[in-house]
Symmetry: C2
Subunit: 266 residues, 2 copies
């Protein structure tokens, strides 16, 4: 306090950006905002963003924070910057759509129906295969973890957070039993993103049917070491999730019937 510090109390610094949460770093918030804007189509592929100085000033942040946010987006393949050319949004083919953050940004707003269909198709391919591997490679510990998670699911049901946590544990146990790191990250990312969006539908309608028996069928097939039965049982689970999301989408976009219908007819 003895030295004359440069005290410029910026009044404008009070802006509590709604995207800025506690515990969240500033550059993370910027990346989240720009990421959602890109995924939502506000910035289309090929568009070139305003210069560093201009954009940073517009966002009321320093260039350092802005640049670090851009590095994050660049790391996920959303944008690329070159001197003189500026920072431009890359074509969709370059986006790392399977990145957990990108998936989160994609589902932050109104997710693209076509993209949701793509994800479920991929899931329908990957998850049964994972169950197949799990049935071949699981050991006692894997089965015990699954059994415990299943019991917890029965106790709490999927309407409670504890129940959904148990559901995640069950699926994670299956993934762990595959002994396949690549399969684990992929399935975990997709499953988390999809379930994250599926959660909101719980408040709209009761569950169409009790999902516990289907989970039990998967468990029993894996415990019995029957790969084909496990794959088939998991297939049923994915179809069930698809059905849920389908009806949820129908409710949510009543004005966009053609898109929803196209999704339903598949």
């Amino acid at each position: 306090m003895t030295t004359g510090k440069n005290i410029k109390v910026d009044e404008a610094s009070k802006r509590s950006d709604e995207t800025r949460g506690p515990g969240r770093r500033l550059h993370g918030a910027i990346a989240h905002r720009l990421g959602t804007d890109i995924l939502s189509g506000k910035y289309a592929p090929g568009d070139v963003l305003s210069g560093e100085v201009a954009f940073a000033e517009e966002l009321k942040v320093s260039r350092s924070a802005y640049r670090e946010a851009i590095q994050v987006l660049s790391a996920k393949g959303l944008v690329a910057s070159r001197p003189k050319a500026g920072t431009r949004v890359l074509p969709r083919e370059r986006w790392n759509l399977l990145d957990p953050d990108v998936l989160g940004w994609a589902f932050a707003g109104e997710p693209d129906i076509e993209f949701v269909r793509s994800l479920f198709e991929l899931r329908a391919v990957v998850e049964p295969a994972a169950a197949r591997f799990a049935a071949q490679r699981r050991d006692k510990d894997d089965l015990k973890t699954m059994k415990d998670a299943l019991a917890a699911m029965r106790r709490h049901t999927l309407t409670t957070e504890a129940g959904r946590s148990a559901d995640r544990d069950f699926h994670n146990a299956i993934l762990a039993a595959t002994r396949n790191a690549a399969l684990m990250t992929l399935s975990a990312s997709i499953g988390a993103a999809v379930n994250w969006t599926t959660q909101f539908k719980q408040r709209a309608r009761a569950l169409p049917r009790n999902p516990i028996p289907d989970h039990v069928r998967v468990y029993e097939a894996i415990a019995a070491g029957d790969p084909e039965a496990a794959a088939e049982a998991m297939n049923v689970l994915v179809d069930l999730a698809l059905e849920d999301t389908r009806s949820a989408i129908e409710d949510r976009v009543p004005d966009d019937d053609h898109a929803a219908a196209e999704f339903v007819t598949k």
Copy 2:
């Protein structure tokens, strides 16, 4: 709680511009270096890196460049930084193993045999499914692109760069015909990474057999609109690639027989 140990910068890393290529940004080079070091196990999960100032000075770069590199690694789930706590390497489950850059870093050094097995298993699941979708949804343009790529492959063979380029075009055409964005990014990433490592084996031995007929079989099944035949034909292609990589690994690590044997026996 903190099982990790502190990490000091390697003394031998005095030269900082060796990893620095033209056109490559500085923070990109830093990220590449740290990324490969993490993937290779030089920095193990749980380890906490030296402070920003110390590490940046050791690398002979400014703190800004170092921080931007860390943001990239953080975006890919390799590390996480918190005030006062430092920057620590995250557990493997958090790594985005399917990120193209991460795959590149994983294959930069000696790739982990187990991880290669994982990737091929995933590929064996995904690629036939992609061929199945392509057989159902391809149109005339897709078929023409495939046919042209196939012709180019025949002309140049896979020993030339032009031939390998045509091979990539062929597989990309299949992916485009799936009409599935998620499947495209996934398969493109894995295929690129695997083929990138498979390339080095070309100088060691001649191709075991002519791969063109297998490609033709895939094309004909897709053109005929036969999903099952397309999936089966693609399955053969993946097995062929697996065989190539298998033999390449046997040659490369003669001192590591037990790992190679484990990989071969599968």
